[in-house]
């Protein structure tokens, strides 16, 4: 009996020591993760090619560093906000980062060409103060032809002694600079595009706060709740977006009546997000689900459901169908066009509200994204993932009532 007890003790110690060794090996590992993404909208609208390269690893027993570089190239055409019947003018100096070379027609096209390049870098340093406390420090820079963004963030993470609950508190500050490509300025809100009235570059400061709780429910289930707030002050207007003035009776666009949009100088956002991961028994397939409620003081409320289900095959392959449902209400100041009663006989701008935007993203919207993901373990500690998804957006009032896009992504990560 004593012999059996000794053997069991030795076997247990061996198992525990092996597990400990593996855990240490993982903690000390470096990881690279690279991705190529292609996003393409129907009808020759926006196309995006995105490369992401990330590398992370431990630089000491308590410190981990992650560096990420992103390169985006964007091109195609995007709705300007003008209605389709507004005549065959040129573009409104491009939609973001390029395209048109200047305003030459007082009526903007409903679609404007653009091209842009974005380079973004971020550095995250995680310091573990002890077994239960850690702090993430993040700095990020994003540069485009017509946009610069600088941000810093600190997230404090506290685990309970049993390590079944994690509390997180994050604070971020972001400074954005917005301007039109080439000129480096922004149009005067509510000014007629033919008048060429411009101001200096726009600046915006944003503070984000997030409080999160992650809790282990049982061996196969973990849940997370996040409460997030955001306050931004400064320039929120899109310097390329316009709106048209339309006769209410004839529904005809008034000649020479494209105006630059105007948005409020501040925005407050709040959201509550629930997430749940559950591994089913005995299939070992995994269900991922999330729901987010969002609300802001522009009048936008939204609901987002995101569900995917992972079918595991032999522990090295998986297929994961995914569906995401999104619905939002329109912003208070959204209008697809500004109607006048007198056919433009008088200056319509005297009756403009303080804020008006025809940006389709502020319209009432329903969006469904569905697709499939495939993943496979490759070689030693390598992980290949591919996904193909289709996004269909439906708008209630916008000039273009739908936006359809495919998303293709391939990513490969490897531990060293």
């Amino acid at each position: 009996m004593k012999s059996i007890k000794n053997k069991l003790t030795i076997a247990t110690c061996t198992l525990l020591s092996q597990q400990s060794g593996n855990a240490l090996a993982i903690e000390n590992a470096w990881e690279i993760d690279n991705s190529f993404l292609y996003y393409s909208e129907a009808d020759d609208r926006v196309s995006v090619v995105k490369f992401v390269a990330a590398v992370g690893g431990d630089v000491s027993d308590r410190d981990r560093v992650n560096i990420q570089v992103v390169l985006d190239t964007m091109s195609g055409s995007t709705p300007s906000g003008a209605v389709k019947t507004s005549g065959g003018g040129d573009t409104v100096s491009g939609a973001s980062g390029g395209g048109g070379t200047g305003v030459s027609d007082p009526n903007a096209n409903a679609l404007v060409d653009f091209d842009d390049t974005r380079l973004a870098n971020s550095l995250t340093w995680t310091h573990a103060h002890d077994n239960n406390w850690s702090v993430d420090y993040n700095a990020a820079v994003s540069i485009e032809n017509d946009y610069r963004s600088f941000s810093g963030a600190v997230t404090v993470n506290k685990e309970t002694a049993k390590k079944d609950t994690l509390f997180s508190l994050g604070l971020a500050a972001t400074h954005d600079e917005i301007f039109r490509v080439g000129a480096g300025n922004t149009p005067v809100p509510l000014s007629q595009i033919a008048d060429n009235e411009f101001a200096g570059e726009g600046q915006r400061d944003t503070t984000d706060l997030i409080a999160g709780l992650t809790h282990v429910i049982n061996r196969r289930t973990v849940a997370q709740v996040n409460l997030a707030f955001s306050i931004s002050n400064g320039y929120h207007t899109d310097p390329y977006k316009v709106f048209s003035v339309v006769d209410r009776v004839t529904n005809i666009v008034i000649q020479d009546s494209s105006y630059y949009e105007s948005r409020p100088g501040s925005r407050k956002k709040a959201s509550l997000t629930f997430k749940l991961n559950h591994q089913l028994y005995p299939s070992n397939n995994i269900l991922h689900g999330s729901y987010r409620f969002y609300s802001d003081d522009w009048g936008v409320n939204s609901h987002t459901f995101d569900i995917n289900y992972r079918f595991n095959f032999a522990n090295t392959n998986y297929i994961e169908p995914r569906i995401r449902l999104y619905q939002q209400s329109q912003a208070d100041f959204y209008q697809n066009q500004f109607f006048v009663d007198d056919g433009g006989a008088s200056d319509p701008s005297v009756n403009f509200p303080k804020y008006i935007s025809a940006d389709y993203r502020l319209d009432e919207m329903t969006s469904i994204t569905s697709g499939i993901r495939y993943g496979k373990e490759v070689g030693t500690d390598g992980h290949l993932r591919v996904r193909l998804e289709y996004m269909h957006q439906s708008f209630e009032n916008s000039e273009f009532d739908t936006n359809k896009a495919i998303i293709f992504q391939i990513a490969y990560s490897k531990w060293f």
């Binding site: 996003y39 995105k50 992401v52 973001s96 429910i217 003081d297």
Partner: protein, 77 residues
């Protein structure tokens, strides 16, 4: 907006309480965390997908946030 913030905080508090008390909840010992330690059981399950999704939906919808802070913005269309 203020009212919504208060409601969301109340919802968060009740959600935290619910998470702790739901009937399927059980004490998980350290040696029982093999499943929970898998990458597919983390938040997010795939950082790369999460990062690129955030960018896509940030560009095409009016709502943002809820997963984390930091990372910088863009003037996307």
């Amino acid at each position: 907006m203020y009212k919504i913030s208060i409601i969301l905080i109340c919802l968060l508090t009740s959600a935290c309480s619910t998470l702790n008390n739901i009937s399927v909840s059980e004490d998980v010992k350290p040696w029982q965390k093999d499943i929970l330690a898998q990458q597919s059981m983390q938040f997010p399950q795939d950082k790369m997908y999460s990062f690129t999704d955030d960018h896509i939906f940030f560009s095409k919808e009016a709502s943002t946030g809820g997963s984390g802070v930091g990372g910088g913005g863009c003037g996307c269309n």
